[in-house]
């Protein structure tokens, strides 16, 4: 009686599935990382997509024993630079020293930013349902502002102002929370 050894790791479909699982598990984090340098959501999502294209093309090079996120962030960072180089009016962002400045200051503020992130969750939960819905549609459902304006029967400009007001309201809520804990900036 003979036996057959099956090397599951050589199954390309299984490898592809595993790779996509890892990407999908980390794409929020990757988007967040990209938005450190590319603040416009639409632009950041374009960079995320470009990152995924490259990750997919290089998936055979990925060593499953290594951590996925640092490898993916390295490629995302490269894609960010590539994106800025194509945008002449953002020449400052395209410079390595500016990215380093952002990174350095972010690192210094890291404890405070972490606290703020914790507070933000509470503050979003406290928003009236209709305001939460607007944020949800804009940020998570990726609904264009034009669509939001149509849906709410308001002008595009009014929607932008609403988004600005909601972000301000969240910032103020975070500040109140930090002050209550004696950790306000």
């Amino acid at each position: 009686m003979s036996s057959t050894l099956v090397d599951h790791h050589s199954d390309p479909n299984a490898d592809d599935a595993a790779f996509l699982r890892r990407f999908m598990a980390e794409q929020r984090t990757l988007l967040h990382f990209i938005m450190r340098y590319v603040p416009s959501i639409a632009d950041a999502r374009d960079v995320l997509q470009e990152t995924l294209v490259t990750l997919w093309a290089k998936r055979a090079e990925f060593d499953a024993a290594r951590e996925f996120l640092p490898w993916a962030c390295g490629i995302a960072r490269f894609k960010v630079r590539e994106f800025w180089r194509k945008q002449p009016r953002w020449e400052t962002f395209a410079r390595d020293d500016f990215m380093a400045l952002l990174d350095q200051r972010r690192e210094e503020l890291s404890p405070e930013l972490s606290l703020r992130t914790e507070k933000l969750r509470d503050c979003v939960a406290k928003l009236p349902p209709e305001h939460r819905a607007t944020l949800d549609r804009y940020y998570r459902e990726d609904e264009p502002v034009e669509t939001l304006a149509l849906r709410e029967g308001r002008s595009v400009d009014a929607i932008y102002k609403t988004l600005q007001r909601l972000r301000r309201s969240l910032l103020e809520c975070i500040e109140r929370g930090l002050r209550a804990e004696g950790t306000a900036t």
């Binding site: 479909n13 599935a17 999908m24 967040h32 603040p39 962002f93 400045l101 509470d122």
Partner: protein
């Protein structure tokens, strides 16, 4: 942290991707030359990124709201597209999504929100009816009117708002001392009963109230009451309104009474919520403004307004988000 308003406006335009060339240049110069502005930007952009990444939305508030108009009327775009993936890999993506793996932007939420009513009084065909038998689709109650800006009062949203006139209806006064002017709205919950059959359905209601300046000796307040009813308990005539709603409701909730401030420039937001009994079939939303008994006999409300009324059903569901038709 006090961010100059012009910085905040600039940051907002950068985040929303609508900054022009001059603003882009200003922004970059600002971050290079102003340390405080750089810190403010890092705080602002972190908040923005957290919202975009979805992690800031707490699980209990995780919702994909149902719009007042069907979503199919509007163009939408999805976050990450895979036009470049080989067909087999694209199939994998679909399969992985179906397996409920983490899919940050299209993941089914734990809680869904259904917009039951979004009233801003802008509909030109909308009218207010005096108190009578309740019916869906119409506001009824004491004497009131829909009006545009007047007497220094501007609507909370849009061009129109609702004004309470008197604590009476059809020319009939309430008993002395009953200085509460109300309007009611009946909402049919039956098309959505499946959404709260597990007993976890909650209706949230919020409305904005405001009042023109009033004499120092007077005080006015506002509140919202909610009544969950079965079909047999829906009042069929005006005289039964009060007694039925109070005595026969399956459940009732009322916001605390908010006293009007004396600033017509600021609308006061009042909210309340009610957990729906599983056998609830209708909901009555009651908005009321009041003056204290000691204020005299006149049941006149010369300057009390309501606007921007939102009624939402929050329900739990394991199913992926999808739109639902609104009840009539």
């Amino acid at each position: 942290m006090n961010m100059p308003p012009d910085h905040e406006a600039l940051f907002a335009r950068i985040c929303d991707g609508v900054a022009n060339d001059a603003e882009a240049a200003d922004f970059q110069r600002l971050l290079r030359t102003d340390a405080a502005a750089l810190d403010a930007w890092l705080r602002y952009s972190t908040l923005h990124a957290e919202l975009a990444a979805g992690a800031a939305f707490p699980a209990t508030a995780d919702s994909t709201p149902v719009p007042a108009k069907p979503a199919r009327d509007f163009p939408t775009r999805r976050v990450v597209r895979f036009p470049w993936l080989p067909q087999a890999a694209a199939g994998l993506v679909v399969g992985l999504c179906a397996a409920s793996l983490v899919w940050a932007y299209v993941a089914p939420p734990a809680l869904r929100t259904h917009a039951l009513l979004e009233e801003d009084f802008e509909d030109p065909e909308l009218s207010l009816a005096v108190r009578s038998a309740l019916e869906t689709g119409i506001w009824r109650g004491d004497s009131s009117e829909i009006t545009e800006a007047q007497d220094g009062m501007t609507p909370a949203t849009g061009r129109k708002m609702m004004r309470f006139l008197r604590a009476d209806h059809d020319g009939r006064l309430k008993p002395t001392g009953g200085h509460i002017a109300t309007i009611y709205r009946l909402i049919d919950l039956r098309p959505l009963r499946g959404e709260f059959a597990d007993g976890a359905g909650v209706v949230e209601v919020s409305a904005s109230f405001n009042a023109t300046e009033f004499p120092a000796g007077e005080r006015y307040g506002c509140a919202i009451s909610l009544y969950a009813l079965d079909a047999d308990s829906v009042p069929d005539r005006a005289g039964r309104l009060g007694s039925t709603l109070s005595d026969e409701a399956l459940a009732m909730a009322r916001s605390s009474r908010t006293q009007f401030d004396r600033d017509p420039a600021s609308w006061q937001r009042v909210t309340t919520e009610i957990r729906l009994p599983v056998d609830a079939q209708f909901l009555v939303v009651r908005l009321h403004v009041s003056q204290p008994f000691e204020s005299g006999d006149a049941p006149v409300f010369t300057g009390a307004y309501a606007d921007d009324i939102r009624v939402s059903l929050l329900s739990r569901s394991a199913a992926p988000s999808r739109t639902h038709p609104l009840p009539p």
